[in-house]
């Protein structure tokens, strides 16, 4: 039986090769369909991985709340000395801790010190963040050299700092960074460690940014409060800002619903901040939204690929019906030589399946080629999984069998005498 199938397969290839151009044209639909399936699956897989990676950077158990300066017409609580007061307050954090204590592992705060940084007469354009040790852990910021800000630095209000790795490069600091001192608003800080350049995507950087500056100097939060307070006054005009906390990252305990905690926090903030001077980002929610968008994209692509495969299948059935008619006499001869109906049916079915499988292979090559050509250019990751190749080939064979069935049955039911008489 297997040998017979192999022989029929060999025969099919001969028949298809005899009409190579026609066979190739017949395959266009299948090629486009399978190519689309491969492309769609690879791009979707790449995009999903990219989304997951991006959201994982922010932490799926985290809720990020940033203070936001309201538009000037919204600043109703402007003080007579034109000090803008906005954003998260200690009261918000205390209420959040009290309401969600059972579900929140910790809340880490970042306070931006709006002071200038100087080193050896050179101004360094970076933001200064007052943070605690958990801030680094929460955002998975690693230490490249020295050590990171720790709890003892905070309780001791020590004048030490960490700097971004890139800051050293950008300002040409080639000496041992641990010996470097920075002047921040008139206070000298010793650099005790270098923070690994975080691999954040542009989108994540935007989410985590407390200002437009790209580089960061981290100092202990308590040191920041001691030296700078929460208010910054800009001279010569008496104006300034007062922000108690620029960013709060809430880490929800494993097993607790991040979305429930986010809703509870939002309720507190809505009451405390009628001007809505904060932004809340829930990475998990972000992931769900993007996955939903991804699903819509996938479904659309599957539909397009499906339509293409159906069109391809119709092309195949059309050509095979023509082929059956064209080869009526051959069918008669084969029947006269002893072929049973099933032999004739198998022959045409194998021919159709070989044809569509060939379309599947070419389509897979086109799809893979397309993925590696197009995806990098539009900034998508390309992942061609073996499963997608197997699926594509499976689909193309299934299309061949499905659409080849009717011509095969039609051929097998021909009366041998009529077939032999066919002109």
């Amino acid at each position: 039986m297997l040998y017979g199938l192999f022989e029929l397969l060999r025969l099919s290839v001969r028949c298809l090769a005899a009409n190579a151009l026609r066979s190739l044209l017949t395959l266009l639909g299948i090629i486009i369909g399978v190519g689309s399936v491969i492309f769609m699956m690879s791009v979707t897989a790449g995009a999903s991985r990219e989304i997951l990676r991006e959201v994982e950077q922010l932490g799926l158990q985290n809720i990020i709340i940033n203070s936001r300066e309201p538009a000037s017409d919204e600043t109703t609580t402007e003080q007579p000395n034109r000090i803008k007061q906005y954003g998260l307050t200690d009261k918000d954090i205390e209420q959040a801790r009290a309401t969600c204590s059972e579900r929140v592992e910790f809340i880490t705060l970042a306070h931006e010190v709006r002071e200038e940084i100087w080193r050896a007469g050179q101004r360094i354009d970076a933001r200064v963040l007052g943070v605690d040790a958990q801030y680094f852990e929460t955002l998975r910021l690693g230490c490249a050299r020295g050590r990171l800000v720790c709890d003892l630095d905070n309780t001791g209000q020590k004048p030490i700092c960490n700097v971004d790795e890139r800051l050293l490069d950008d300002y040409g600091i080639v000496q041992d960074p641990i010996t470097v001192q920075l002047d921040i608003g008139g206070v000298v800080f010793d650099v005790v460690g270098v923070v690994e350049q975080p691999p954040f995507t542009t989108h994540n950087r935007k989410i985590l940014a407390t200002s437009a500056k790209h580089l960061t100097v981290y100092i202990p939060a308590q040191t920041a409060l001691q030296h700078y307070g929460t208010m910054t006054v800009f001279l010569p005009e008496v104006q300034g800002v007062q922000v108690e906390a620029d960013q709060a990252i809430v880490r929800v305990k494993d097993g607790c619903s991040v979305l429930t905690v986010a809703r509870a926090l939002d309720r507190i903030l809505r009451v405390n901040h009628p001007r809505h001077d904060y932004d809340m980002v829930v990475p998990l929610e972000l992931l769900q939204q993007r996955e939903k968008a991804q699903r819509v994209f996938s479904i659309t692509m599957v539909l397009i690929a499906g339509i293409s495969l159906v069109v391809g299948g119709i092309g195949i059935i059309n050509i095979m019906l023509a082929s059956v008619t064209e080869r009526t006499r051959e069918i008669g001869v084969r029947r006269a030589c002893g072929a049973k109906r099933k032999h004739i049916a198998y022959q045409f079915l194998i021919e159709t399946t070989t044809l569509s499988a060939l379309g599947g292979v070419i389509g897979a090559l086109v799809g893979v080629g397309g993925v590696y050509t197009v995806a990098p250019r539009i900034g998508w990751a390309a992942i061609v999984s073996p499963q997608s190749l197997i699926l594509a080939l499976g689909i193309s064979c299934a299309v061949g069998i499905m659409f080849g069935m009717y011509p095969a049955i039609k051929a097998s039911r021909m009366d041998p005498i009529e077939a032999l008489r066919f002109e």
């Binding site: 022989e7 051959e330 001869v333 084969r334 006269a336 030589c337 002893g338 049973k340 109906r341 032999l420």
Partner: protein, 229 residues
Amino acid sequence: MAPVMELKAVERTYRMGKVNLSALRGVSVTFEEGEMTAVVGSSGSGKSTMMHILGCLDRPTRGEYFLDGENVAHLEDDALSEIRNRKIGFIFQMFNLIPHLSIAENVELPLFYMGTRRRRRHDLSMQAIELVGLGQRWRHSPAELSGGERQRVAIARAIVHEPRVVLADEPTGNLDSKTGAEIIAVLHRLHDQGRTILTVTHDNNIASSLTRRIVMRDGLVENDSSESE
């Protein structure tokens, strides 16, 4: 010894719309092993219908057909295919070679459906091709052959599986007289080797050169030379 083929009161009726058309009206005839017979008759005499029944391509409406002692008149399609495959070789007026197969592959066809292995198929087909004098051309395609050569290939295909009977339907009908004569010579040679051959023909010259001659008319055997002797 039992005859190779025996028709007993065979009738074949076709339904053409509301009308029944009798192609054979009770034909009884026997063919012995090693005979070379010509079946002649005008168009519509029933000779082709008789050949189709003898070749197991068609079944009688009534009557019995014994092939090699087995009644095959009412067998199912698959069983008839098997009998055609093992016991019958066909030669057609239009040669009926498959254009995209080589000569050897065309000749191998009956063996293919017998399930013969490829190497054995090739050996047997080469022997048959040698027998019809085309040994050097087994790789060629039918399009590269003349009409006479194509018919030789068809003859090789008809005998490659050592059938009990070779049925030829107007084997020279599509050939000029010289080539036709060559083909008849090949058939005579096969007959001399002991094969049973039945030829349907319009050509009286061919018919008269064969040992037995059956004349058909209006679906009946009008004359059988073996009976009149």
